[in-house]
């Protein structure tokens, strides 16, 4: 079952093509890593899948449908930037999100808040960077969504928070029922999670493959292969 199908996807901002002619598909149940430097089009791609941007050309299908209000029901998106209401308390934003999604799982929420040590009574603008990052993850993972789109979940966050986030991702993984796309330039820490990887450079796919297969055929870690392409 193809969770995501992308054909000849292109997105232009003014004269700049952030993403040009991407084609690939993702099967249900996979964890895909999209690796590339800043500006390679990772965020743009994720935003298109999340329904925040419209393609300039090409086709995007999520379970056979174009991104819309209906796909948003089953897609959980986590942005790279701070995008939560600063005046809300951590617990408040979780309650708020809960009311919009049928697949919200309160048990998961409690579990994650505990595990990630999130202080629900604090206002979001008062949280440290690390805790904001952990809150974003808790927000994204407290649902039984079909597709998770995580844009740089590890960036700009302290080491122990990163470890916790990776732990949470593995913990909450529901197998065949969920597909996850993680975009990152911190390949080293995240690579053990990836089943498949895509390398993106200037809006184009320069490598795609099964993670273990790449390790086998090239005798290198994904990080090493990444550095080869991008140094």
């Amino acid at each position: 079952m193809k969770a995501i199908v992308i054909e000849n996807l292109g997105k232009r901002f003014g004269t700049l093509w952030a993403v040009r002619d991407l084609s690939f598909h993702i099967d249900e149940g996979k964890i895909l890593g999209i690796c590339g430097p800043n500006g390679s089009g990772k965020s743009t791609l994720l935003k298109i899948l999340a329904g925040l941007l419209r393609p300039t050309r090409g086709m995007v299908k999520i379970y056979g449908k174009n991104p819309s209000k209906h796909t948003k029901r089953v897609v959980s998106y986590m942005s790279e930037i701070d995008y939560l209401y600063p005046w809300m308390k951590a617990g408040e934003i979780l309650d708020f999100a809960a009311s919009f999604y049928e697949d919200w799982d309160e048990r998961k929420r409690k579990d994650l808040v505990n595990f990630l040590k999130i202080e629900e009574d604090k206002k979001i603008r008062e949280l440290s960077r690390g805790m904001r990052g952990r809150l974003k993850i808790a927000l994204a993972l407290s649902r039984r969504a079909k597709i998770y789109l995580l844009d740089e979940p590890l960036s700009g966050i302290d080491l122990s928070s990163r470890a916790k986030i990776l732990d949470a991702l593995v913990r909450e993984y529901r197998g065949q029922e969920e597909t996850m796309i993680i975009s990152t330039h911190l390949v080293r820490e995240a690579e053990p999670l990836f089943e498949e990887v895509i390398f993106l450079k200037e809006g184009e796919i320069i490598l795609r493959g099964d993670a273990d297969e790449l390790r086998e055929t090239r005798g290198k870690s994904i990080t090493e292969i990444f550095l080869e392409y991008f140094i």
Binding site: F13, G14, K47, A50, G51, L52, L53, R54, S68, K69, H70, K72, R73, V75, Y77, S79, I81, D82, Y83, L84, Y85, P86, W87, F96, S99, F100, Y101
Partner: protein
């Protein structure tokens, strides 16, 4: 219900501003009323008008801020990934504006009646309702108008302020012209008959229903355009 939740969130977000601006206006009016105990004829009307304009401007700023804040805080990325279409998002915002407009109108009507009671020795009850409706419709329209203009300029990639301002001017002018054109049609609608006792002189005024129905019609049209903008053109 989702729209309700979003509406409540908008209320919470704007609570402080709403209270503050209302208290400021009330304080301002009471201050003036006290400072100028013996009002000249007509100056009460000027004060009322001034209050009305101030509140109108505040409504406009309010509408503008609702949208601008989503952009400044980047919360638009959160809002637009919620499973809502443009009509639902616009409705939540409009309902919030309506709530605020209602409060503003209550305060304004109260203040006007208070101020005008200096000049008008006998206020007939039938004055309050049409006054309320007209003021309310203007406030709602202004708020939604501001939201629309700001949302529109944010869908532009370049020269947002310039084009936004131009559109504002052109559209306002257009709406004024349209209102003029529709005057004969509006006059066919029933009117409120208001009795005013002005310093002993009894006069009859007719306040046409069109003066609040038309702004409300414009508001609905703007709401539809706003919804379509969010659905089709909004990008983050």
């Amino acid at each position: 219900m989702k729209i309700l939740k979003l509406y409540i969130k908008e209320l919470k977000e704007n609570y402080n501003w709403m209270m503050f601006s209302l208290l400021a206006v009330i304080a301002f009016d009471i201050f003036l009323l006290l400072r100028i105990p013996s009002m000249q004829k007509g100056s009460a009307t000027v004060l009322s008008l001034l209050t009305f304009v101030v509140l109108l401007v505040l409504m406009f700023v309010k509408g503008y801020r609702i949208i601008k804040r989503e952009w400044d805080w980047n919360t638009k990325e959160f809002l637009l990934t919620l499973p809502l279409n443009g009509f639902e998002i616009a409705l939540a915002m409009t309902l919030e504006l309506i709530t605020e407009a209602m409060l503003y109108t209550l305060v304004a009507t109260g203040l006007f009646l208070l101020i005008l009671s200096r000049d008008l020795s006998g206020i007939k009850h039938n004055f309050a309702l049409p006054l309320f409706l007209v003021i309310f419709s203007y406030f709602v329209f202004t708020g939604v108008y501001a939201v629309f203009i700001e949302t529109f300029s944010l869908t532009l990639r370049k020269w947002r302020k310039t084009i936004g301002f131009m559109v504002f001017v052109i559209l306002t002018y257009g709406l004024a012209k349209l209102t003029n054109l529709l005057k004969p049609v509006m006059e066919k609608l029933p009117s409120f008959k208001v009795t005013i006792d002005y310093m002993g002189q009894i006069t009859f005024q007719h306040i046409n229903m069109g003066s609040f129905i038309l702004p409300l019609i414009y508001t609905v049209l703007l709401y539809i355009c706003l919804s379509l903008l969010i659905d089709k053109k909004m990008e983050v």
